[in-house]
């Protein structure tokens, strides 16, 4: 039982550090803003279940990503073969691959070389190249297939998720809520957490739409009804209508301009009909493409398509050269506003579906905090009462250790930035039980050693040394369990595991080291303690 002055200082400073880190939690954010910068002002993060907010898990339709990529590959292949003057009789997407049928089978080698130029290496700087993203193979009779490789698809999905996160962030930010967290989860999922948000319906509407806007040329020779009965001409596609008054149309599949060339979109009102419209502006290249197209198609209709549905098909009265225009499509003020946000934030690379939603209203969160506080106070009083009753003066030391344990746990959680959740409160409580257990083990051991006839100092010393083996063993097994929870756990389990882990780590310091130091001071102030004298335990 000896503590060097340095050791004493280290223990006391650690306790002081815990106290300093916890203090800001008792003040409001406004008060903290006036504090000098060197004072810690970080507060404990509360989880969504305690402060209220929305949690949405979105899953991306990876098939759409795959399909889009195949379409791009198909267009690219067509362009390359045309430029190389290699004739084809068929070129299309089938069986998750692009198939090319050459007009002359003897062109196969030249075509193969041309198409292999499309292959991009997959991989990053760390892993190095893991092969190409496409595989080009020669079949019989002038048939070539271009198949995406698995790493290639993974890379495309990764890119799409990254792009989708950016888009979702812009859309969520438009709701005016700060602190939204948007992160990738697993292979094809995005987790959106918006603290304090109550109206999830609006949020869901905003991120539920791909908002891919395209402008298409209308085929004048084939009507939709004809196309349904016979065949759609090559390069064209039948688009259903998204609005009641408009019929389905046959449109050229490759759009004239895409929504990603928009620089602005705002809700507005039509100056003549006064109905809600969206006014938009293209960037330079978009304006040029649109200008050229409208110049060549005066008095002909063109179609505006949103997420593969025609929303309007106006007739071009005069060339639109300035790069700006407006879309009418039976909007309400609400939907025009929403669509404008979606267009400004860019299209999602693929559709996102909500696979999990958890929303907690602020009133329930506040109730849970109150309940947690009350339970904590009652549990704390019961623990302190029991400990002092059973262990006397040493019991008081143990309670001081418990307070230090609580302070340090909260301090570490604040420092680590991990949020306190409802199951987390339970984890804290269990941590307290573990801390009490450590003291019980020590004190029972001291009593045993004293009964065996050891002198007070020897008995106390032996109690700490012997009990420590057991404490370490029991805490480490619980720690193993907590790690598994953290590693495998979802949401609530993980929050619980974090607080439990921190609680176990601090309990060894607080219940063993701090209590030991207190007993050391007690021994020093009771120098007259002789063999056989009473140890207050």
């Amino acid at each position: 039982m000896h503590f060097t002055p340095i050791k004493q200082a280290a223990v006391l400073l650690t306790c002081l550090f815990g106290l300093l880190m916890v203090v800001p939690n008792f003040f409001s954010k406004e008060t903290l803003a006036h504090w000098p910068s060197w004072v810690p002002t970080r507060q404990l993060n509360l989880g969504l279940d305690l402060r209220g907010g929305a949690h949405l898990l979105l899953s991306m339709e990876t098939n759409e990503v795959r399909k889009d990529w195949l379409d791009t590959v198909r267009d690219d292949a067509r362009r390359r073969l045309r430029e190389a003057k290699i004739g084809v009789t068929g070129l299309g997407v089938a069986n998750n691959a692009v198939q090319v049928r050459l007009a002359k089978p003897e062109d196969a080698d030249a075509a193969l070389k041309e198409l292999r130029g499309m292959v991009q290496p997959v991989g990053n700087l760390l892993v190095g190249s893991g092969g190409g993203d496409l595989e080009v193979k020669k079949g019989d009779g002038g048939l070539l297939t271009i198949t995406p490789t698995e790493p290639g698809i993974q890379q495309r999905i990764g890119n799409a998720i990254g792009a989708a996160i950016e888009t979702v962030r812009r859309r969520v930010d438009s709701l005016g809520t700060a602190e939204a967290q948007i992160v990738r989860e697993g292979r094809d999922r995005i987790l959106v957490q918006v603290p304090g948000l109550q109206d999830t319906a609006g949020l869901k509407e905003l991120i539920g739409k791909t908002a891919r806007l395209t402008f298409h040329e209308v085929n004048r020779d084939v009507s939709a009804t004809e196309a349904r009965q016979t065949r759609v001409p090559p390069g064209f596609k039948l688009y259903e209508s998204g609005v009641r008054d408009e019929g389905a149309l046959v449109l050229r599949e490759t759009p004239v301009v895409r929504g990603d060339e928009l620089v602005d979109a705002q809700p507005a009102f039509d100056s003549r009909t006064n109905e809600p419209v969206i006014s938009f502006r293209f960037n330079n290249s978009g304006a040029r493409k649109f200008g050229n197209f409208t110049k060549d198609h005066v008095n002909l209709p063109f179609a505006i398509v949103l997420d593969d549905k025609v929303i309007s098909a106006p007739v071009i009265r005069e060339p639109i050269l300035g790069g700006s225009g407006q879309i009418s499509g039976n909007f309400t003020v609400e939907t025009a506003h929403q669509l404008a946000i979606q267009l400004r934030s860019g299209a999602l690379p693929a559709k996102l579906t909500i696979v999990e939603e958890r929303t907690v209203g602020p009133s329930l969160g506040a109730d849970s905090i109150e309940a947690g506080k009350l339970a904590g106070i009652v549990g704390g009083i019961a623990t302190i009462g029991l400990t002092v009753l059973v262990y006397g003066t040493f019991g008081i030391f143990a309670c001081v250790g418990l307070v230090v344990h609580g302070l340090l746990t909260v301090a570490l959680m604040t420092l680590a930035g991990s949020a306190l959740t409802l199951p987390g409160i339970a984890g804290l409580v269990l941590g307290i039980a573990m801390a009490v257990d450590a003291n019980v083990l020590i004190y029972e051991r001291i009593r045993e050693e004293l009964r065996a006839g050891k002198s007070p100092i020897a008995g106390i010393d032996a109690g700490f040394t012997r009990a420590f083996v057991t404490i370490a063993d029991s805490q480490l097994t619980t720690l193993a369990c907590a790690f598994v929870m953290f590693w495998l756990g979802a949401g609530p389990i993980r929050g619980f595991a974090v607080t439990l882990t921190i609680g176990i780590l601090t309990s060894i310091f607080a219940s063993v080291t701090v209590v030991r130091l207190l007993i050391y001071y007690w021994l020093r102030s009771n120098r007259g303690l002789r063999r056989g004298a009473e140890v207050p335990v």
Binding site: E357, V390, L430
Partner: protein, 330 residues
């Protein structure tokens, strides 16, 4: 430290007790195995009342803005929406209601559509305090991770105990822990209490608590094995249990006191979690005394614990089998 008066605590526990735990080990062991078998049978027959996390579907907690909620009227209204059976139950206060919508056939989008219908039907008469929707993909994943988490937790613990003690201790721990998990789960199945993700967390915590208890007893057994080299194994196990009994009871009481406070005041949302924990603490304490230790009596254990230091000095390897005392055969 003069500030604090010196006073002794109330040493409530009689010392030098020799309660004959091991005499009834056969009975206890048999009962425990029976409890495990019955739990398994109940789970097999009745299954679990899975919560939204594992079953999928929606859960909405609402609070009436106009005093007490009219559960009957709400039930009539929501069951006409064509979203399958809608379960409605009171939750805490008279104005609080929990609405459960079963998982809709189809895919992820159908769940959201059903939720929208219910939310619209609720109107402004109710404030929505909590909404949870779990789609089919996530619920099946959560079921899987929940199961794996418990199994992995069990294995992690056993690996640690094996590493620190002998395989007999690890076997005792695994049987005791499996017993705890099975019986707790069996009680949840028997009373059809809602089984969700938080119960998995509770089961994992019970594992932690129970193994804590088992390790404390095992530690004492190991110590006594070194101390009393000639004591008969059953007697030694009994002494060890008795010596740690005061600690077992005190820690158990503190844990129970805190958990009862949480159960009573911690709010509705974590009530089931706390119930599972309460059950677990009791069952976990029981299993360390009546399953893990007696099993050692049956399995026997290496007696020569100085062997480790002998092996280090290179004189002999492992204690020969003849030195092992197989108490079960005595």
């Amino acid at each position: 430290m003069r500030l604090i008066p010196n006073f002794k605590g109330f040493d409530f526990f009689p010392h030098n007790t020799r309660l004959p735990f091991m005499r009834y080990k056969g009975l206890c062991f048999g009962l425990s195995v029976l409890a495990m078998v019955i739990s398994l049978a109940i789970i097999a027959v009745k299954g679990f009342n899975y919560g939204v996390d594992f079953k999928g579907g929606s859960l909405i907690e609402v609070q009436s803005t106009t005093g007490a909620a009219d559960v009957h009227q709400l039930r009539d209204k929501l069951n006409k929406l064509g979203v399958g059976a809608v379960q409605i139950q009171g939750f805490g206060g008279p104005s609080d209601v929990l609405i459960r919508v079963e998982q809709q056939p189809g895919g992820e989008a159908e769940q959201q559509a059903a939720l929208k219908k219910v939310q619209e039907a609720l109107g402004t008469q109710y404030t929505q305090r909590r909404v949870e929707v779990v789609g089919p993909a996530v619920s099946s994943e959560l079921r899987m991770t929940g199961f794996i988490a418990v199994a992995a937790g069990l294995l992690a613990i056993v690996a640690y105990v094996w590493f620190r003690f002998e395989w007999q201790f690890a076997l005792g721990a695994i049987v005791a822990l499996t017993h705890d998990v099975l019986v707790t789960a069996g009680i949840f199945s028997l009373f059809q209490l809602e089984f969700d993700l938080s119960i998995v967390a509770a089961l994992l915590t019970i594992l932690g608590y129970s193994v804590n208890d088992t390790v404390v007893v095992s530690d004492r057994i190991r110590e006594n094995l070194r101390k009393f080299k000639r004591m008969e194994l059953n007697e030694l196990l009994n002494v060890s249990i008795n010596e740690t009994l005061s600690r077992t009871i005190l820690t158990g009481c503190t844990a129970l006191a805190v958990l009862i406070a949480l159960y009573a005041f911690g709010g509705e949302v974590i009530r089931n979690f706390n119930l599972a924990m309460l059950l677990g603490v009791v069952i976990g304490t029981y299993s360390s005394i009546f399953i893990a230790a007696p099993l050692l009596g049956y399995l026997g254990v290496r007696r020569d614990w100085s062997g480790a230091s002998v092996a280090r000095s290179g004189k002999s390897e492992v204690a020969p089998a003849a030195q092992r005392v197989n108490a079960a055969s005595k």
